[in-house]
Subunit: 208 residues, 2 copies
């Protein structure tokens, strides 16, 4: 142990990789419900005490995984139109939700049991929404949207929420047309001005 | 016990009422995580064996509560316009989600841990969507919607999903304008034809 501890970077990185692999494998084998600190430690071949000390609970493990996912170089789609971008985004989401096991669903479930996981998930999604603001800016620039004052966050949530609703909350079978239909609905609503920020509000936010 | 068992209807109904009261109180006191069969039995003053025999697990308890909620005479709003009906529906949903503790949120959380609860929740929501088809029929009849071939379920999900997304998944603070904004977006998308069922599809469903 002492020898290993002399190379903390190497050992830390290796333990982390082993533990993350074990989390994925345990999820695949036992689903969200079967994910335990003990199961992860055993599968990873790492001392339970190490896993508890570093991650505290399953929520802590998932937080670290979420944050790692957040570090991945992710770029919003650029298909040439807002409608296409939203559909591509929804396609990505649907794919992440149909995986068996779905890591995305496991994070949602964990978020109900761990304040830490809930905060990390909210942070990750906020970052994604912020990255997607460019979609709205491009759509205004190329004349797809009538006004620059479009609330990108609520537009994105309107486009994506039906997928989570159908697949995560209602456990519906995946509908291959849903990503496009939900994107289309949000796009048409945006064009009709549903997400436009009233002038005084946008003035207020510029000054706050 | 024998004496009580001679009046099974009366005793059953009383035990059920006591247990349901206890579920609500335990949720209020300890949240979703603190809801246990033991806690419910103790608070209700009912033998644990009775609670386990009748409801099996927390999921079973919530199923029975969901089904009871489903029996409640619920009518979709009738405000005189589709836009208003959707906003009223969303207002109801937002109110159920902001309650502390939110019984609606507890059901969602339980649905991830109990197949029974998940199925019951899906059944309850399917019944509500079916009841809300009248909104779409009325909107076509009074000229608000351009076509009778509107998929009511996806329209309703588009209207409601952003509320669940924001409040249940993203833990955002309730936005008092969201019920109306999300309803408005779904309404504008519907008017633009986003939820229209293609002719061949509606013909197919009529013949199947």
């Amino acid at each position: 142990m002492k020898t290993l501890d002399r190379r903390p970077g190497g050992r830390t990185a290796r333990v982390r990789a082993q533990v993350f692999d074990a989390v994925r494998a345990e999820l695949a084998a036992h689903g969200h419900e079967g994910l335990t600190m003990e199961g992860v430690a055993t599968r990873a071949g790492v001392h339970r005490a190490t896993v508890y000390r570093r991650w505290r609970d399953v929520g802590g493990l998932l937080v670290d995984l979420i944050d790692t996912a957040g570090e991945i170089e992710w770029q919003p789609p650029d298909t040439g139109s807002l409608r296409g971008d939203l559909a591509a985004l929804n396609q990505e989401i649907q794919e992440s939700l149909v995986l068996e096991p779905s890591f995305a669903v496991a994070l949602i479930v964990a978020s109900f049991h761990s304040e830490q996981a809930a905060r990390a998930q909210t942070r990750l999604w906020a970052a994604r929404y912020a990255q997607c603001e460019i979609l709205v800016e491009r759509a205004f620039a190329c004349g797809e949207l009538p006004t620059p004052h479009t609330d990108a966050r609520i537009l994105l949530i309107t486009a994506m929420a039906p997928l989570y609703h159908q697949m995560v909350l209602l456990r519906a079978d995946p509908d291959p047309r849903l990503p496009e239909r939900a994107a289309e609905a949000a796009y048409l609503a945006a064009v009709a001005g549903a997400f436009s920020v009233r002038h005084e509000e946008s003035a207020r936010s510029r000054h706050s």
